[in-house]
């Protein structure tokens, strides 16, 4: 325990804490830029400098550990001048076009300029657009003219995702962030997760918008425009309208979408319930094959909802592609259902339907464009908006989300369960699958209080759980006494650790859930900025609240799901279900 003073007041801190840690704990504001709570300390921007008695120069608060007897000043004339100069120097190297920048009012560099009351650029030579923009990614644009080399994207890609698609290239004043051989991002391994975009404090990284395409579709009188919203949107969209993180805005969002002119407002959660039916029975089928029929199915089975993870697997562990569930993600199942079952029911030509989705995710844009995700060149999902894009559209429409009354999704593809809501959180797909699979096999509800399977909840990087199957129904007798072992990981760096352990023969599990982004979809690369662990926790809390308040909390109890099997698919994993709801993967490799 260290005793120290900050601005003359005494504090105590444990060893290993930095000055910034202590200041943040005590509510003493220190400006930061390169520092991010999700990432390791880099200490490169120097915006957080403080005065440590006895040090000749100012020290970075983020990179200086506290020690006993330390005397720290956080606001003196010297510090203010130094911080202001640092911000001015950062701006001297930043192409400034704030009013037409995609990160306008969402930019940490802009906020710093505001915080220091800058009214002029000290270095008059304006930074021009001298570097090429890289727009070769299917989901985002890199504009290095705005990059201040904080390396948050580099660290997010390496530390959180284990991909390392971008790094600092060259040195000194030639340094830029880019990919191998300074080639476009499209020529290296990138999983499109958008965590670089979500962690960028400037306009150097932003997603590719499809806002204008969607307005055009809405304005086209010959098109029926349906929209589906992913579970994670309702717990985060409010942040863009000044609600505190973790505020549920489901009903207001539905009203806003209807006001904007979408013909039908549906819920991706319907398709999440459908996914549980398909994926749950797929798992049971593989277990039957292994335990009763003496086959050699690919086990453990792995979830396939998260398109960043799919591409990660295609690149890094292609030998395990047969272990992936063949189920399409809920977004894609929804698109396929809209353009088949629903089109037929409504007597519409699928070609006249425009299917738009709102996703917390940039990788969903790539997923929707995969050639296998459509029929005869007509994609099942036509446009994918991120949560941030939807917020922009709502504002463009002159709507304040706060003024909206609550309303409900349209039937029948708007009906869903709490099991589908929790898809938004890491462990949620696993929990939803277990609620259904356990009941299918035993005829009883999962043995957890209020159906809350807490061992798979929470933000630990890798979670493990087991659930004993006893008293099973006759047709599942081969599962009697089997402990169903499951594992959950989020952030593909954690997925990499799980996959490496599996490859090394160190894992004994039946079913693995992987979500690409930290926290699962609620921490997706398309969610409102900025991101932080506290926000993810707040969103997760909202998601689990919505689940606990739902009328139905098990996917197989969704009445519309029962109907769609009755009227259309027959049974889970039927021939038609396979045709429309399942997919295949591509070996991509790494080098």
């Amino acid at each position: 325990m260290a005793k120290l003073t900050i601005n003359g007041a005494p504090y105590e801190a444990s060893a290993g804490m930095t000055i910034l840690d202590v200041c943040q704990r005590e509510g003493i504001h220190i400006p930061t830029l390169c520092n991010h709570p999700d990432l390791k300390t880099q200490g490169i921007c120097r915006v957080c400098v403080v005065d440590v008695k006895g040090s000749k120069t100012l020290q970075s608060a983020c990179g200086t550990p506290v020690s006993d007897g330390m005397e720290i000043l956080t606001t003196t004339d010297r510090i203010r001048k130094a911080r202001k100069t640092i911000v001015e120097l950062l701006l001297a190297n930043h192409y400034t076009d704030c009013t037409v920048c995609p990160k306008n009012l969402n930019c940490e560099l802009q906020s710093l300029a505001n915080e220091f009351g800058l009214t002029d650029l000290r270095w008059k030579e304006r930074r021009e657009r001298t570097l090429p923009q890289d727009d070769t990614s299917p989901v985002f644009v890199r504009d290095n003219n705005k990059c201040v080399l904080c390396q948050r994207c580099v660290r997010a890609c390496d530390e959180l995702q284990g991909v390392y698609a971008v790094a600092n290239l060259y040195k000194g004043d030639s340094t830029i962030v880019g990919s191998a051989f300074n080639r476009p991002i499209s020529e290296v391994v990138c999983i499109n997760c958008g965590q670089c975009v979500a962690h960028c404090p400037t306009g150097a990284l932003y997603e590719k918008y499809c806002i204008e395409d969607v307005w055009k579709a809405i304005d086209d009188p010959d098109k029926i425009v349906v929209i589906q919203t992913a579970p994670a949107i309702r717990a985060a969209l409010g942040e863009a309208f000044d609600y505190p993180p973790g505020t549920r805005v489901t009903g207001k969002m539905v009203s806003a979408l209807r006001t904007m002119g979408f013909d039908n407002v549906f819920d991706t959660q319907f398709a999440a319930d459908l996914t549980i039916m398909e994926e749950g029975f797929e798992l049971l089928g593989r277990l039957k094959d292994a335990l009763a029929d003496g086959g050699k199915p690919s086990l453990p089975m792995m979830t396939s909802c998260s398109p960043g993870w799919i591409k990660f697997q295609e690149h890094f562990f292609p030998e395990y592609l047969p272990n992936l569930s063949t189920c399409k993600s809920p977004q894609q199942m929804f698109g396929a259902v809209v353009k088949s079952f629903w089109a037929r029911k409504m007597n519409l030509d699928p070609a006249d339907i425009v299917c738009v989705s709102v996703m917390p995710c940039t990788a969903k844009k790539f997923e929707a464009a995969r050639p296998e995700m459509g029929t005869d060149g007509d994609q099942d999902v036509d446009f994918v908006l991120t949560t941030r894009e939807l917020a922009v559209m709502i504002k463009q429409a002159g709507i304040d989300l706060r003024d909206m009354a609550d309303s409900a999704f349209d039937d029948p593809l708007g009906e869903s369960t709490g099991a589908a809501t929790i898809f938004a959180a890491t462990g949620g797909v696993m929990e939803a699958a277990l609620r259904t699979a356990y009941e299918v096999v035993t005829g009883r509800e999962v043995p957890f209080k209020d159906l809350d399977i807490t061992p798979v909840r929470g933000l630990d990087g890798v979670k493990q759980a087991g659930i004993a199957l006893t008293g099973v129904k006759k047709e599942w007798s081969f599962l009697e006494g089997v402990e169903l072992k499951v594992m959950v990981a989020h952030g593909t760096a954690n997925a990499k650790a799980v996959m490496t352990a599996l490859r090394d023969g160190k894992l004994d599990v039946h079913f693995i859930e992987i979500m690409t982004c930290p926290g699962g979809c609620l921490g997706g690369g398309g969610q409102p900025l900025p991101v932080s662990p506290e926000k993810r926790l707040a969103r997760a809390r909202a998601i689990y609240e919505e689940d606990s308040e739902s009328v139905h909390r098990k996917s197989h109890r969704n009445p519309s799901i029962a109907r769609i099997y009755d009227e259309f698919f027959g049974s889970p994993n039927s021939h038609l279900a396979h045709e429309l709801l399942h997919t295949r993967y591509t070996v991509r490799g790494q080098y």
Binding site: D158, A167, N168, L169, Y170, K171, A180, V188, Q590, Y591
Partner: protein
């Protein structure tokens, strides 16, 4: 460079140094000593051998002035770029070399014999301006002395 030669050399180096991330630099140095530069194929194969991304390996290789990511001439002339050599008339030494070789800083002669590059401080500030030709250091340069030195490399 033959692919088999590259793979064999890389195999030897990985055997000698190991393939933990911290062994990347010595392996890159030795590959450069062997092949003169670290081209795309070399960087790809090193990345594969170490299980790293090409971007990470390229990032390391492009950071160090003494590692070349592009093919260089047989003799790489590196001139100190720091201020103490500037103060001792480095500019004229550089001008003389550029004129003698007919290339600009950063370029390689058409016959692939000489490349002209900067290096950061060589630690001989008291005897600047200085330059290196491959691994050999030359200090106390004047324009004519520098030209005589590179003429001795044929």
């Amino acid at each position: 460079m033959l692919r088999e030669t590259l793979l064999r050399t890389l195999d030897d180096l990985v055997g000698r140094y190991g393939k933990a991330r911290e062994n990347l630099l010595p392996v890159l140095q030795d590959l450069q000593a062997e092949f003169g530069f670290l081209g795309e194929e070399t960087i790809n194969e090193v990345a594969r051998a170490f299980g790293l991304s090409q971007t990470e390996v390229f990032s390391v290789a492009s950071f160090y002035h003494f590692l070349n990511t592009q093919e260089k001439g047989k003799y790489v002339i590196r001139i100190c770029r720091t201020i103490s050599c500037d103060l001792r008339d480095k500019a004229n030494v550089l001008r003389a070399l550029e004129s003698e070789l007919g290339i600009k800083m950063g370029e390689t002669t058409r016959d692939k014999k000489y490349s002209l590059d900067y290096a950061n401080c060589m630690g001989t500030c008291d005897r600047g301006p200085s330059m290196m030709v491959n691994d050999r250091l030359y200090a106390d340069l004047s324009p004519s002395k520098a030209v005589d030195i590179i003429r001795s490399y044929r």
